[in-house]
């Protein structure tokens, strides 16, 4: 099923932009679509994601995103700061992820995340590094 984006977003040619609010909205909507392969396109091949609790890039990152998003967890995030310095951006967010444990019970993961974005030669902005720090991890309600 196609996902309806409320932001201007081309899945074939993703661009998070350097506008933190736009980037956050795209990031949230793609995450919440549950499509790990699509979510992975917001990253460069050598980008590092720490969502799994360890730094992953390339094929390992893609495999994790597919697995992680398959149960359709819901991400909420709010920008806390954003600095754009030429072709590099640093953004901070407060986030929460509501998910489901294998036994069906609800899980909640929340904390702060630091994101580094890079502008590519073609002008598109993509994730280079994410670093979530959970304040409260996988607590069953």
């Amino acid at each position: 099923m196609a996902f309806d984006y409320t932001v201007d977003f081309d899945p074939e040619n993703p661009d998070l932009t350097s506008d933190a609010e736009v980037a956050n909205e795209i990031f949230l909507q793609v995450f919440n679509s549950g499509d790990g392969e699509l979510f992975n396109r917001l990253y460069l091949d050598d980008s590092i994601s720490n969502f799994s609790g360890e730094p992953l890039s390339g094929a390992a990152r893609l495999a994790f995103f597919k697995e992680f998003l398959s149960s359709k967890p819901t991400l909420k995030a709010k920008i806390t700061f954003s600095y754009v310095a030429g072709d590099v951006a640093l953004m901070g967010v407060d986030y929460s992820i509501q998910g489901t444990a294998p036994d069906g019970s609800p899980t909640l993961l929340q904390g702060v995340c630091t994101d580094v974005l890079r502008r590519q030669k073609d002008g598109r902005w993509l994730m280079a590094i994410d670093r979530p720090v959970a304040a409260k991890g996988l607590v069953a309600e």
Binding site: D46, Y83, V88, L90, T114, V116, R131
Partner: protein, 126 residues
């Protein structure tokens, strides 16, 4: 990748040395032309304002020491989480100790040198 990490570690050591020498001009080469530094929380500085701030700050003869907590390094972008302590003096000349957990973003420039793009000394609360 380990070569890159080595380069970054040497770069950080050299930054500390240069900072402690008080040479504001030399310290400039550690930053990209568009770099942002946030020495006062919520007040990002760039360009001439950032350079002026650095010059003023270094004129008091501060000494910095750093310890790397974490590093994430891609081909051309690095995120470093760094514990730092600076011993300096305040406006009246009285000793002042500042410390924080910095969140630094460096990028590999065309001359193959890593430079700070974002210097956020208070980027993380403990």
């Amino acid at each position: 990748m380990s070569q890159i990490t080595d380069d970054l570690e040497k770069r950080t050591e050299l930054y500390v040395e240069t900072f402690n020498s008080g040479d504001a001009e030399a310290l400039e080469d550690f930053y990209t032309p568009e770099a942002i530094a946030v020495w006062e929380p919520g007040k990002p500085l760039t360009g001439q304002a950032r350079r002026d701030y650095t010059r003023e700050f270094l004129s008091r003869g501060p000494r910095i020491s750093t310890e790397l907590r974490q590093s994430f390094v891609t081909g051309d972008t690095a995120l470093l989480i760094v514990d730092w302590v600076i011993d300096t003096v305040d406006e009246t000349g009285a000793p002042e100790r500042m410390q924080g957990i910095g969140v630094d973003v460096l990028r590999l420039c065309e001359d193959n040198v890593w430079r700070y793009a974002v210097d956020e000394p208070y980027g993380q609360e403990d």
